[in-house]
């Protein structure tokens, strides 16, 4: 290989790979050995996370709530029932999380928001355990570790709530098809069409995006609509 492109690149050293290869997969490849308790997790949470996500992980302040919307029943079925409720407005992280590895990996690489990669391995285990405790997945005295994490995965409320049976992954690695699920029509004349206007912006939202006159070029086939009430001068 080196012969094709002499002088380009070199072998990565074990230390270098250790420094950057931090991903944790659903099969737990990459997960470092270690553990952390719910109690320790609560300490970490209150010190480093709660200011943004709320004491109970339910704040909507800087991001959608992390916990809420899951039930004991969901833990049994592995399907979050509320996701079938067409009227339910929001979705918490815990309602969507099919993999516990995703939480561990993401907290480890990206949180806290302003100091990513500052947590110790124990802190990541602990705060993950705390979030799962908030969601009723593990008990108050639980200690999450690399040895029991696969069992906890079996209690994730939405572990069965996902599918890869769709046509939108290029390749055959997943269970998808190649046939798109929605196909439009090629009718050209007198086509059956819905032509009743059923949704539009209400008048009171006219200026919600500012004055559109200022968001269009000053010349051209059209101008931007004046959407902000003129004040008398």
């Amino acid at each position: 290989q080196g012969e094709r492109f002499p002088g380009i690149g070199r072998t990565a050293t074990p230390l270098e790979i250790k420094a950057w290869d931090i991903d944790v997969r659903p099969d737990f490849a990459g997960l470092p050995a270690g553990s952390g308790s719910v109690a320790k997790g609560q300490d970490v949470w209150e010190a480093k996370c709660a200011s943004c996500h709320g004491i109970f992980g339910d704040s909507n302040e800087v991001f959608a709530p992390l916990v809420g919307g899951t039930s004991k029943e969901d833990i049994a079925t592995g399907r979050v029932a509320r996701l079938t409720d067409q009227g339910f407005p929001g979705r918490t992280t815990m309602m969507k999380a099919s993999q516990i590895s995703t939480l561990w990996d993401y907290i480890n690489r990206a949180m806290p928001w302003t100091q990513p990669k500052s947590l110790s391995v124990e802190e990541v285990y602990a705060v993950t355990a705390f979030l799962l405790n908030l969601a009723g997945v593990v008990e108050d005295d639980f200690v999450l570790s690399d040895r029991n994490i696969a069992q906890v995965q079996q209690r994730m409320p939405n572990r069965n709530g996902m599918t890869t049976a769709h046509a939108m992954w290029p390749g055959n690695e997943f269970s998808g098809t190649s046939r798109p699920d929605v196909q439009g029509s090629s009718c050209m004349r007198q086509c059956p069409a819905e032509t009743k206007v059923s949704s539009y912006l209400p008048d009171h939202a006219r200026d919600a995006h500012g004055n559109l006159a200022d968001q269009n070029r000053l010349v051209g086939p059209q101008r931007g609509a004046v959407t902000v009430r003129q004040t008398s001068e």
Binding site: T93, D105, P170, E173, S186, E194, K196, Y200, D214, P221
Partner: protein, 406 residues
Amino acid sequence: PAALAQANPVPATGGDPNILQLPEHTTGLGQPVVTDGYGKPSKYEANVQRRQSPGLTQTTQASVSFAPLQSLFGIITPSGVHFERHHQGWWDIDPSKHRLMVNGSDAKMLKRPMVFTMDELMRLPSVSRFHFIECGANTGMEWGNVAVPTVQYTHGMISCSEFTGVPLRTLLEMCGADFKRGRFVLAEGGDGSSMTRTIPMSLIESGEVLVAYGQNGEMLRPENGYPLRLVVPGVQGVSWVKYLRRIELGDQPYGTKDEVLHYVDLMPNGLHRQYTSIQEVKSVVTTPSGGQVLLDKGFYNISGLAWSGRGKITRVDVSVDGGRNWRQARLETPVLSKCLTRFNLDWVWDGKPAIVQSRATDETGHVQGTYAQLRAVRGSRSIYHNNAIQSWLVGEDGEVKNVQLS
């Protein structure tokens, strides 16, 4: 407002003062060369900016800005107004200190894990290709109903550039990759979130996935991943990992935050579709479009953009009566795979209400559907991958509104 009167009538003086009184630029000496070593647009173009959608995100570092599609021409997006999507803020990284690592998920996946400097990557055989990048959430606010007024906000999470870089396949080959076992590739960024996504091996093997440093002739802009990003043609933007620092070849998908918690499409049965990657066939009319006011009755050039993550656009049809009758639009050349295609069509506006739509077909025969067709299969809570036909209502007063039909 009534349609703006923009006729250009002859004043009683016998001529337009902009002609009869010679303009100053024709009777004076202008500016010298290189007033700017790196120039900028006219001061009269200040309205052409990328913009946030008020209230869309809770932080500005995990947020989006939208490209002003209503004011753009052709297929190239000026890099200055390229849409932004950051997950933990953007950085201007010193390229002399940037490194790319390629490793395996286990010791046997690669013969040799490697480290590259930018100098080295830029010495390797490069390719240059035009592709669109569209956020999977583009048009996502409109799944349920009309939510925003203009095409900047409905469709502005798309941009199109000429990218230059090294096929990722070349790097994996240099490392002695086991392409039989290694069917999944992780791409990881160098930002705070160290953004990660599982990349389709089929596109890597086809040579389409690039480790890119060039965009529209210059280096990537910092907001777009300077000095290195992945280019994954046809796939949603979140996979085009910015500030690319690491590639891992593995035998399992990676279940990252942005393929388990986000960029998952909620179906009516409560299941989330994971790893929905392809941006399917889609189009939108940009002239005329929402929030604009037509100047006058008479002739217009209806113009818009079409694209497909599955290949080339083969056809675009345009309707001005809400989808009852359609006419085939002209496609501007070149028509390229997984790239924007500009379409144009003559239209004489008679001053009566009109509903303008466009409908694209790609080379796989996939035809863009209506909201009704899309919702019948996917419901309306999916957030991602909304490729529905867009409707613009032109009122008698010339004002154009974003509408949905039923």
